[in-house]
Amino acid sequence: MNSPNSWLQFALYVGALLVITKPLGLFLVQVLDARGRTFLDPIVRPFERLTYRVCGIDPEKEQGWIGYTLALLAFSLVGMLFTYFILRFQDRLPLNPQGLPGLAPGLAFNTAASFTTNTNWQNYGGEATMSYFSQMVALTIHNFTSAAAGIAIAAALVRGIARHSAKTIGNFWADTVRVTYYLLVPVCVVFALVLVSQGMIQNFKPYTAAKTIEPYTIQVPKTDDKGQPVLGADGKTPVLVDQKVDTQNIVQGPMASQVAIKMLGTNGGGYVNANAAHPFENPTPLSNFLQMLSIFAIPSALTYYLGRMVKNQRHGWAVWGAMAALFVAGALVCWKFEAAGNPIHQKLGVAAADGNLEGKEVRFGIFNSALFATITTDASCGAVNSMHDSFTPIGGLVPLFNIQTGEVIFGGVGAGLYGMLIFVVLAVFIAGLMVGRTPEYLGKKIEAYDVKLVMLVLMLLSATILAGTAWAAVSDWGQAGLNNAGPHGFSEILYAYSSAVGNNGSAFAGLTGNPANGDWHYNVTGGVAMLIGRFLMIVPILALAGNLAGKKLVPASAGTFQTEGFTFVALLVGTVVLVGALTFLPALAIGPVVEHYLMHAGTLF
C-alpha cells in the first residue's frame, strides 16, 4: 500500500466514475421516458418503432405494478426456456466448429437460470463447453435483456417514489426496449471495438493450433482401444505414458461483443473459464481500467437519475456518497491484506514485498486485482480478473461480504439502486423509531405494509443463502465438490450460495458445481437459489413501487427526517453494514475469520 502509483490509480478510478455520473444520469432520464429525446433518435427511433409494431407493444400505455410484474415474469420465463433449449441442442445448431456436445439437463437448467437472473454463475468452462452459437445467442441475449430488465425495475421503483396518488409505474416493454436500444447497444458497439484495439478477439474462426517454440513432454494415463484407462499391476494406479506436447490450441470466437455487454450489464459471465484474468478477455491494464469503469457506470448514473426524478438531487448524491464510502472502505481492506501477502509462503522464500500473487496476473498486480474484486462484488457483476479462491482470508472476505450486503454498493445495473432503496426505506424507518414519529421518505409516510415488504426481501434472501450453505456443508454431495479443505472449504460453499442468491456469479472457483458423476445437487440448488434471489426480490419491490406510487404527499415539517447530508449517509451506511454483519458474522467467523488466524499460525490443510 506504499506505492504512490496505486493511490493515483485509485484516485483516477473514483474521479472518472464521478465525472461520468451526471451526463450518463441525464441521458438515462431521457431513455427511461417513453417520450424522451436523445441524440440517437435519428438512427434508433425507426428500430424502436418497428419493434413495437412487430411485438404489438403500445409504449404509451402504462402498467400498474401487477401488470408490470406479469410482463417481467413472462419475458423472463420465455427467455429462460429459449436459452435452456439452445444449450441442450447446441450440437444440432450452427456455429459449432469445435463440435461441442449439447449440455446435460442439470447444467443447462443451472446456466439458463444463471443468465436469466443476471447472475452468470458458470458451472462450466466456456471454451470447452459452449459453441459460438450458444455464446452469441443463448447467453448474450440475457446479458442485454436481464440488464435492461434490471434498469427497468429500478426506474419503476423510482417512479413509484416520485409519483403520488398514481396507479401506474411505467411500461415494462417500453423501458426494456429503450434501455437496450438507446443505452446498451450503442455503448457496447464502441466499447467492444476499444477492447479489440487492446487485443481482445472477435472472429468466427475455429481454434488455432500453434506449433510451440519449445515442445515438452507430459505424462498422461495410458488408455486401451476403448478409451478406458489401463491400470498397473496393483489394479489401482493408472499406467502413465509420455506424451509430447508441441501444439497450443488457441481459443477463438466472437469474444469482444460478448465481453462488452458482460461488463456494462454487470452480468460477468466469462467467454472463457478464467474470465477477465485471461489475456484475451482482458489484454492490458487499460482494458482492465475500462472494464472496471463500465461495471459501475450505469449503477452510478442511476443515483443521479433518482435525484433528478424525485426532484432532490442532493438525495441522489447522498445515496451515491453512501455507496462510494462503502466501496472505498472495502477496496482498502482487500488491497491491504493482498499486499501483505501470505506469511506461510513468505517463510518458504517468497519475496514479502510482492504480496499474494497466487491467482493474479502480473500486468494487473496486487492493487488492480484487489480493486477489481471489490468492484465486481459491490456490483452484481461477478467477472473476475484474479481468482478469489486464492486470496488471503480477509482479502477474500471482502468480496464475500460485499455480496452478502445485497450488492447495494453501486450494485448491479438497476438491481443496485432498487436494493439500496430497500435499505433507504429501512434506514428511514429506523430513524423514525429513534425519534418516535411516523417515518417519512420524500414526502410519503412509510407504513407497516412497506416495511413488511422490505423485511420480506431481506429475510428471504439471507435465509436462502444460509440454508443452502448449511445443506451443502453437511452433505456428501456438498463436500465432494470442494477444492480446499478446512475452513476454506466451508468458505467455498458459503461464497457459492451468497453469489447465487446475490445474482453475482463470481466464485471461489475451485468448487466443482457440475461434477463428472452427474450429481445434480449443486446445479439444481444453485439454479433455484438464483431464481429466488432475482424474482423473490423483484416482486416485493414492484409491490412496494405500486404502493408508494398510490400514496398522498404530506408536506415536510420541522420534524421531517432529512434524506440528504452527512447524517443520512452515515445512517444508511450503518444500516447496510449492520444488517449484513448481524446476518452473516457467525458464518463468516467459521470461514474466512478463523482461517485468517490459522494462516498466521502456519496451519495447513
Binding site: 435483456t145 497450443q248 522464500g349 488492480n368
Partner: protein
C-alpha cells in the same frame, strides 16, 4: 390469466426480435469493425515464423523449461499452458498442496538461477496466474533469470539485459497496471539474435 397469456405472446415476439438484433446484427457489426480496424488483434495476436507457421500468440504464455529460455510463471491451465482450458489453481491460502508446490518452485528457481539459499524469490516466479496463460513476468524475475540465460547461450550478460529492457512494457498511460516483461516475445528475440549471428 388472460393478461399473462398476452404478455407471453409479446415475450416470444420480443425475444425473437432481440435475438436477431442483439445476437445477429450486433456481433456482426462488431466483427466487421474489428476485422477492418484491428485485424491482427481481432484474430488473436498470432505470431508466425518466416514459413508462415503459427507459433503462438503474443498474449498467451507458452511452456519454456530449458536454461537458454526465460521461463514463464507456473501454469494451472489444463496440463499446463493449455490455451483452450484457462484456469488458476484455485488453491486457498492454507492449502498444503499450494504450499508444497511453492516450496518446490522456490527451491528449483534458486537452483537453476544460482541463487543463495536465503534469497527471496519474486512471487510471480513461483505462483500460478489466474488464467494459467499470463504472458508476463515481473522485471525483477526477468533480471534474476538473465545471468542463467546468458550463460546457457554463451552471450555477454549485458546483451541479454539489453534485450530484457527492450521487452519491458511500462505502465499503460504511465499510470495503469504494473511494468512487465513478455516472456514469449523476449525468447523469440533471443532466438532471432542467435540466428542473426
Amino acid at each position: 390469466m388472460k393478461t399473462f397469456l398476452a404478455e407471453l405472446k409479446t415475450s416470444v415476439l420480443l425475444t425473437l426480435v432481440l435475438a436477431v438484433l442483439l445476437c445477429g446484427a450486433y456481433p456482426l457489426v462488431v466483427w466487421a469493425g474489428a476485422q477492418a480496424l484491428f485485424p491482427a488483434r481481432a484474430n488473436g495476436s498470432l505470431l508466425t515464423d518466416k514459413d508462415g507457421v503459427v507459433r503462438g500468440s503474443a498474449l498467451l504464455a507458452q511452456s519454456f523449461t530449458s536454461d537458454k529460455y526465460f521461463q514463464p510463471r507456473p501454469s494451472a491451465a489444463g496440463t499446463g499452458y493449455d490455451a483452450s482450458s484457462s484456469s488458476g489453481t484455485n488453491l486457498g491460502p492454507t492449502s498444503k498442496k499450494l504450499a508444497d508446490s511453492i516450496a518446490a518452485a522456490v527451491a528449483a528457481y534458486r537452483t537453476v538461477n544460482g541463487l543463495a539459499a536465503g534469497t527471496p524469490v519474486p512471487a510471480d516466479a513461483v505462483t500460478s496466474s489466474g488464467s494459467g496463460l499470463d504472458p508476463d513476468i515481473s522485471v525483477a524475475n526477468a533480471n534474476l533469470q538473465a545471468a542463467r540465460v546468458a550463460k546457457a547461450r554463451g552471450l555477454p550478460l549485458e546483451k541479454v539485459s539489453t534485450l530484457v529492457a527492450a521487452h519491458t512494457t511500462g505502465r499503460d498511460l504511465t499510470v495503469l497496471g504494473e511494468p512487465r516483461v513478455n516472456v514469449l516475445l523476449l525468447n523469440l528475440a533471443l532466438d532471432d539474435s542467435a540466428a542473426a549471428r
